[in-house]
């Protein structure tokens, strides 16, 4: 049983990791958490779902979904973050929560609260090793997460825009003085975060073979937030390891302690974790007030 729990935990953790990457990248740059992340990718996934239902080619549909995620998140940045960027930390959080609620309720009005089957023709095979079951889809998801992380790390380290992102995350006024186009870069980062979120959400839906409203907030933003706090804000490696830790935590508490109170125990662990190590496992180089 232990191995099966371990594998379940790692596979669900890799799905969380994919969502957490986009979230944590955005979280790291301005140190403002993006409450709308989950709802952005919910809209994107529902767009993919609707386009596939209209018999569009699946790759085209995914591209459209990613584009929608990109545009939506830039809009979120433009309206909920840019104007209130320098007015403390409470104001942007509240405006982001507000925009998340708007998006969620728009989805609720259009598609309703039902759970739809999400059948894209992509289905992983089950590989059996003696006693425990391993899905190939989970391996693919894990590999995609790792590849995306390496790619983003490479872009951040090597490319010009990556360097400007790093500069902005250290100091906005100084990078503006150095000629970095601050607004455009931040907007791009948010857009890319949204696009990554849509990819994550899409794989999430495939993993659960269903799509519903709840993938946005409770399963998306919250888990991504928890994993970035475990892993360390602004650290991509941390996001993946945090998400895997979260997945393992969920799987083991569900298996050994109580499946009814699983979320409560996981939240309890997170709270204890924050008290012990608030900066996360892999803190970013810049110190931050807790």
């Amino acid at each position: 049983m232990f191995l099966q729990y371990l594998i379940n935990g790692l596979s669900i953790g890799s799905v969380y990791a994919l969502i957490a990457i986009g979230f944590n990248m955005v979280y790291g740059i301005l140190n403002l958490l993006n409450f709308a992340h989950g709802d952005t990718y919910t809209v994107g996934c529902f767009v993919i779902f609707a386009l596939v239902a209209m018999k569009l080619n699946i790759f085209l549909a995914i591209m459209c979904g990613i584009l929608v995620g990109y545009i939506l998140n830039t809009l979120v940045e433009r309206f909920a973050y840019r104007s209130v960027r320098f007015s403390g930390r409470i104001t942007p959080t509240i405006s982001a929560v507000g925009i998340a609620y708007v998006m969620r309720n728009v989805v609720l009005r259009i598609w309703g609260p039902e759970t739809y089957p999400f059948d894209m023709g992509i289905r992983g095979a089950q590989v059996k090793f003696g006693n425990f079951v391993l899905g190939t889809l989970q391996i693919y998801i894990f590999i995609i997460a790792i590849v995306l992380m390496l790619l983003i790390t490479f872009i951040l380290k090597r490319s010009k825009i990556g360097q400007s992102v790093t500069a902005i995350s250290q100091s906005i006024p100084i990078s503006a003085l150095m000629g970095v186009p601050v607004n455009r870069t931040i907007s791009t980062v948010y857009g890319v975060g949204g696009a990554l979120g849509v990819i994550g959400g899409f794989l999430f839906c495939i993993y659960y073979e269903s799509i519903f409203l709840g993938i946005g907030f409770m399963l998306g933003t919250m888990k991504a937030w928890m994993s970035s706090i475990i892993g360390g804000i602004g650290s991509l490696k941390g996001a993946i390891i945090g998400a895997l830790t979260l997945g393992l935590m969920e799987s083991f508490t569900g298996g050994y302690i109580s499946s009814q109170y699983r979320d409560s125990f996981v939240w309890g662990f997170i709270v204890i974790f924050i008290l012990i190590r608030p900066k996360g496992l892999f803190p970013s180089a810049i110190s931050e007030k807790v």
Partner: protein
């Protein structure tokens, strides 16, 4: 001093006016909504105490509404305690839990604190949902006894109105006194700049704990009162959406303004009752309001530099302009006379020197 007295008079007139509301409003449904407004005002005040005065973003307020309500319901249904004991013990229990939550997040702030409160809310809701022998799960507890004081039962809307009004006035006065006291000043200092506050001798962590306990006390009172009034409590009253709604009451009215919280509760409790469509769109409306208000009026209607002050400010600007013109005209004549005087003097002086 004169201004202060005037304000008090306005408050008194307002209270006297509200006392007659049940005589004017005969419709039972409307009276019920008004009662809910009074109770939600207390919650909005407590939210304001945390978010508006102390600057800690708390997404877990509805958990305390649920805790107060469930404690009251269980005390009344399972233990058959007298009303007043169950009622006060509910609020004390909430204060105690708030103290615990404050102790847990005394050293954390910003996102970490928000995350902890979200987690607390989710944990509470899960306990309410799953602890079936005590909380009856998703069905909730029914037939909770109404409020009774000294054999007098507040079972009708008419009678309960006065109970709720009394409660609101007491809570308002106490919270007002708290915000004007040393503790309240400390809260505001923590909100404005925690580091500066800690350097001026304010124990930030402990004041956060105090703040959470006080606010949870009032939320618990309101939660127990709501449970006693509706005679029913379900776990869905303490969902995260509900917390956001409660938060929006404080934001809409104005963070840091106590009358504002009441106004926010009035708007956000009455508006969904006016039309069914609005009820369905209420969270979208709240979200939209949150964004728009954060962009232009982060301090709400009655807060500092909020909508109210701006409207008055425009009027004032207009009247100021008029006054200024008058004053300027007056000054100009005065200046002219002064100039004349001084020039004469100078002339005299120079003349004197020449001599």
């Amino acid at each position: 001093m004169i201004n202060k007295n005037k304000k008090n008079n306005y408050g008194l007139i307002f209270i006297v006016f509200t006392i007659f509301i049940p005589f004017i409003v005969k419709d039972q449904y409307q009276l019920r909504v008004i009662n809910m407004v009074l109770l939600y005002s207390i919650i909005a005040l407590s939210v304001n105490l945390i978010v508006g005065f102390s600057g800690q973003l708390d997404f877990g307020r509805s958990a305390f509404v649920g805790l107060g309500g469930y404690w009251y319901a269980i005390m009344m249904l399972h233990f058959h305690l007298p009303f007043i004991i169950a009622f006060i013990s509910a609020s004390l229990f909430c204060a105690f839990v708030g103290f615990g939550l404050g102790m847990v997040c005394r050293r954390s702030s910003f996102d970490y604190l928000t995350l902890m409160t979200v987690g607390f809310n989710i944990m509470c809701m899960q306990v309410f949902l799953n602890w079936i022998p005590v909380t009856n799960g998703a069905l909730g507890l029914r037939l909770i006894p109404s409020a009774t004081l000294f054999g007098f039962s507040f079972d009708t809307n008419f009678k309960f109105f006065y109970f709720a009004l009394f409660l609101l006035i007491i809570c308002y006065i106490v919270i007002k006194r708290i915000t004007k006291s040393k503790i309240g000043r400390a809260f505001e200092a923590i909100r404005d700049d925690p580091i500066a506050a800690s350097y001026s001798g304010i124990d930030v962590a402990n004041f956060k704990v105090i703040n959470f306990s006080i606010a949870s006390f009032f939320t618990g009172i309101a939660g127990a009162a709501i449970a006693s009034y509706v005679n029913f409590i379900s776990p869905f009253a303490s969902s995260l959406d509900e917390s956001i709604y409660l938060l929006q009451m404080a934001i809409l009215g104005g963070l840091g303004s106590l009358p504002g919280s009441i106004l926010g509760a009035v708007i956000l409790v009455i508006a969904p009752e006016i039309s069914r469509t609005f009820y369905e769109y209420r969270l979208m409306f709240v979200g939209f309001l949150m964004v728009v208000m954060m962009l232009w009026v982060p301090n709400g209607i009655l807060g500092k530099n909020g909508i109210g002050e701006r409207v008055i400010g425009i009027k004032k600007l207009y009247s100021d302009k008029k006054n200024k013109q008058k004053r300027d005209n007056g000054k100009r004549t005065l200046l002219k006379s002064k100039n004349v005087f001084s020039s004469k003097k100078e002339n005299n002086g120079s003349g004197g020197k020449k001599k």
